[in-house]
Symmetry: C2
Amino acid sequence: MAYELHYWPSIQGRGEFVRLALEEAGAEYVDVARRPLADGGGARNLAQLMDELAPAPFAPPILVADGVVLAQTANILLFLGHRHDLAPRDEIGRLLVNQLQLTIADVVDEAHNTHHPLSSGLYYEDQKDAAKAYAEHFRKERIPKYLGYFERILKGNGESGAGLASEALTYADLSLFQVVRGLQYAFPIAMESMAPKLEATLALVERVAQQPRIAAYLASERRIPFNEEGVFRHYPELDGEI
Amino acid sequence: MAYELHYWPSIQGRGEFVRLALEEAGAEYVDVARRPLADGGGARNLAQLMDELAPAPFAPPILVADGVVLAQTANILLFLGHRHDLAPRDEIGRLLVNQLQLTIADVVDEAHNTHHPLSSGLYYEDQKDAAKAYAEHFRKERIPKYLGYFERILKGNGESGAGLASEALTYADLSLFQVVRGLQYAFPIAMESMAPKLEATLALVERVAQQPRIAAYLASERRIPFNEEGVFRHYPELDGEI
């Protein structure tokens, strides 16, 4: 049976981490909210579905698999990684990939906060000053700290071909790809100025992009372009050198 | 061999979720940073240890178990829950508890942001206006949304004795206890005004507090009191009715 992915239809957002794992796994799935309204697609149908599912998820993304309802990005990936060999088979190896994914989730949360530092319930325009202050700290302190951390791990793992947690790519590598591409979209100046320090990371991003299934996905209409409704938004006033 | 927990020695913080699980499990553990400086305790030794561990954790809490180094609160709990029967034994049950824990982690992140909305690198005093704006949204929109969600789950599970995910208590129940107690400490007015809508949640909190091992822990010196260095801080200017 095909997986059902339920996520906001017009953004990459947190759902994109799940989409990348499903694509790399070659799994059959339906991106339900992207279907026509009459077929149950659209944001309104998604909101309604949220009230009907059990156990109730707090928020999308949601994966329905053989009647099982799973939410929380890192949790869905833990499940998919195990089923589709996108994580090591042993318990400790899987926990390490989960740990990396949770640190990536922290970056994603903070990237979201750069444009919504005060409340998700306010427009960006109504929290622009706070956004500028937040984004400056994020660029100068947090991006170097997070990406420096992943760079050290990748360098420590040695030869090219190695991902964050093993010689095979894991879903944490797919997620790091997504975060780096997102940060490059949102903060092109900052990321350009940091590029010399991210040799191993940028090489990994390139390797992920060239995986046949990922390359096909990125070139397809299934990949929603980055835009100013998602987590990674390009507001030039928030960008600058690190 | 006893577990080693590595966490900042003067706060509950995120480490407290791990402490509660270790205590309820009756596990032998050393809260390393709380030992005297000469025995490797203190924040400075913790910072140094962080550089030496492999695989490198991004931040505390860190659990060392039989040579395995684990970080990220929810990840450590996933490991401990499985080992100490603080989660269901089947895969889907475990994923559900993990999902709940990740939603609790989101509350914790936002509770932290109420006093540090712009940057963890700035003093509270230097981001007080933003903190007031953030805290107001957090109180009025986020606390009701999150706690309303857990309340609905607990009510749906029916009879007293049932936790969030099963009839036995899981680590997600311990974590919800900690979050509610933390919110009550930080936002006493808001939490008091919401109490009538949290019947099942407050009953669960009471049940957790009365578990013999938890009760003994809470009465001991091992339990660090809430204070204004941790995640949940009582700044009266951030509190108010919901």
